[in-house]
Subunit: 192 residues, 2 copies
DNA sequence: CAGGACAGACCAACCAGTCGGTTTAAGCCT
DNA sequence: AGGCTTAAACCGACTGGTTGGTCTGTCCTG
């Protein structure tokens, strides 16, 4: 077996070749390959966190907050697909300091989602029998996974996908009573 | 910077050391590291596929089929968590022949889920306004992602998590009419 | 002419895979 | 039962090649 296929993610040599630069240039700007990966991750996670924070800081109903979070979450995949793909290929064996920093930001995002679900249950919009953590993780998983299949030139735009996800999620979360309220009707897909 | 942390997944040396065997022994049983990874993946994906196939071959309502698929899907994470973890760390740069074989099995699984959703829409159990592919991918993502956080000794058992996921998914899928039918009541969480 | 930006040869570490040799154990003959 | 044969199981030093990172030096700009 002689064939090799480029084993372990993207090497620094590949990066500098495709950028038309050099090893020296690269290490002049980044302390290590780990740092580059961290910066790439920070770029898109910061966008997601900012948008989610904006949503929960607003004076809106939990349903509306959830809609805004899901929509901006999916938007991240549209804006930063390349960043995210690099990161998911490489992320496993970063130095502990970088892993820590990344985990903290992801933890914050998770907590925002949990907080909205809790608030929605308190206001009576969301079903009280739902366990906050598992429900939150299911939402995170459902949306996060879409980076694996979403294509910019696919059948559906990111906004259309977001509308579908919001419909699916709110159908799971809202109480029967809340679903019948007029103010929420715009969040559901039209029954053709 | 001298420190190294074992960069790219698990090396063959690490594997044979921890197994108390040797390079020679390893390559006596496997043609390549790729083949080992393929065998590991095939082990758990075959279980999932078999269970899902059993579900759709049964003479049951789409709702019941979906419940069986989700439950067995989650069970895979309980049974094969180590296999799955190894695979997700390593999978990116397999030789094309292995990638092809793996993608085919994953494609089959996807098609089974799509088929159940289609059938459910045809029988009137599931909401006709839902797009089959996106809905299917959202279910796949939601369940698949749980390998990242599920712990055997966590708060909730895999069966409890499955019950919650089935509730969430069926609340998204079922029509208002179907939800009120007596025969589906057991699939929903109790309203305490 | 000073200092940041960049180039690329170079290095030690590490990787998947090889190969000649050794151990183990089962089958067979007497 | 005990020796003989044979092949599979297993070992680990070794190889060719790639990796992340370093270092010396050059270029460019103020």
């Amino acid at each position: 077996m002689f064939e090799r296929y480029g084993f372990h993610g993207v090497s620094v040599n590949q990066i500098v070749n495709e950028c038309g630069t050099s090893k020296g240039g690269f290490y002049h700007h980044f302390a290590s390959k780990d740092e580059l990966l961290f910066v790439i991750h920070d770029y898109f996670i910061s966008y997601a966190l900012t948008k989610a924070q904006e949503a929960i800081d607003s004076n809106q109903l939990p349903t509306e907050k959830m809609q805004k979070i899901i929509t901006s979450f999916l938007k991240v995949f549209d804006l930063y697909k390349p960043h995210i793909s690099v990161f998911y290929q490489e992320s496993i064996y970063l130095k502990p300091q970088y892993v820590k920093a990344i985990k903290e930001k992801r933890q914050s995002y998770k907590q925002i989602i949990f907080a909205v679900i809790k608030e929605g249950i308190q206001t009576g919009e969301f079903r009280p029998e739902l366990p906050v953590e598992i429900t939150g993780m299911s939402i995170l998983g459902m949306v996060n996974w879409s980076y694996k299949w979403y294509k910019k030139d696919g059948d559906k735009s990111i906004e259309e996908i977001a509308d579908i996800y919001v419909d699916l999620i709110l159908n799971s979360l809202l109480t029967d009573q809340a679903k019948q309220e007029w103010r929420f009707k715009d969040y559901f897909l039209k029954n053709n």
